[in-house]
């Protein structure tokens, strides 16, 4: 058996090599800091992109809703546009549009989707959530601690007044959202407010074509 070859002696770095190593180490650390900074900047840009894209999306929704209502000529066209907006922009599965009936103070259902018996039952002014919203003009949104469970029994998901020139014309009551949509988000409420202010005048113009001012200016 032969003895193992002796390990080469560890050579001490010369003073010049130490300096080179220190410089390289410093350079590596500087580059690592630069990478970290770039990563943080990238994250910020991604967040900003998501923010801007969401804002653009929200504005696009309002723009499209506005165009659809403005272009609707005739009551049926207004109701079609409203249904299209509710389903495609808000993800609504069931709703009823009530109009303030002339004569007896009640809300008469005039358009609906998947609303069952609610689609035919008039509501007295001041009765229930719809009747209250018609009087107050204030938006109602159900408190849903578990959004997937939907609103409490007997309550709509949301209800808004449809107005023209400050006068109540009726209400829009949303009974159910599409199954995969957990609830109304902040920008959905903006769309709802927009509908409250613009669907009313569109309906007024369609109902009274000879009248110049539907109330919206």
């Amino acid at each position: 058996m032969t003895d193992p070859a002796p390990e080469p002696p560890i050579r001490r770095a010369t003073h010049g090599e130490d300096a080179d190593n220190d410089a390289l180490r410093a350079r590596v650390e500087a580059l690592e800091r630069e990478v970290e900074d770039l990563r943080a900047e990238n994250d910020e840009l991604v967040n900003r992109y998501v923010e801007v894209e969401s804002l653009v999306s929200k504005l696009s929704s309002l723009f499209v809703a506005s165009v659809r209502l403005q272009d609707a000529v005739g009551r049926e066209a207004v109701f079609d546009a409203l249904r299209d907006i509710l389903v495609n922009i808000l993800g609504v599965a069931a709703y009823v549009v009530y109009e303030l009936a002339e004569g007896p103070q009640q809300l008469a259902p005039v358009a609906s989707l998947e609303a069952g018996a609610s689609a035919t039952r008039p509501i007295a002014i001041g009765e229930g959530i719809e009747g209250t919203v018609a009087v107050s003009g204030k938006r109602f949104v159900a408190d849903m601690p578990d959004p997937w469970a939907g609103p409490p029994p007997g309550q709509p998901v949301a209800c808004i007044a449809l107005t023209a020139a400050g006068r109540p014309l009726g209400v829009l009551s949303i009974g159910k959202l599409l199954g995969h949509k957990p609830g109304l988000l902040a920008h959905d409420l903006d769309v709802l407010d927009f509908l409250g202010a613009h669907a009313g005048p569109a309906l007024f113009r369609a109902t009274h074509p000879a009248t110049e001012d539907g109330g919206e200016r």
Partner: protein, 122 residues
């Protein structure tokens, strides 16, 4: 390089929303209003991707998807179905009809752009 996308929906609102979302990207957009027209336009225009609603008159999205998959000239086109129903059975029916992916209404622009990037490589 610009890509051609065929948007299919009988809802004017849905089409306008999709057009607004995609018009800022490198896409040329063409439109069909039902499944039958979608098949005709896909054969004539050979889009790079089809974004198609499910519930439509004349021919629904599932049927159009099956027809497009049965033709040699349109078989390879990625199809994203747009559905109002995100439930498992509806999604399964979509994949059985041959769709490449699906997205639910109301469309989330970031989700749509991300899916397009997956298929079109942007």
């Amino acid at each position: 390089m610009r890509k051609k996308i065929l948007l299919v929906d009988d809802s004017l609102t849905a089409l306008m929303i999709e057009q607004t979302m995609l018009s800022r990207g490198p896409y040329d957009l063409i439109v069909a209003r039902d499944g039958q027209e979608a098949v005709e336009r896909a054969v004539a225009e050979r889009p790079d991707l089809i974004l198609m609603d499910v519930v439509m008159p004349r021919m629904d999205g599932f049927e159009a998807c099956k027809t497009l998959r049965s033709r040699d000239d349109t078989r390879a086109i990625p199809i994203i179905l747009v559905t109002t129903r995100g439930e498992a059975d509806s999604v399964e029916e979509g994949f059985e009809s041959g769709c490449s992916d699906y997205i639910t209404k109301p469309i989330d622009s970031l989700e749509l752009l991300s899916k397009l990037a997956n298929f079109l490589g942007h």
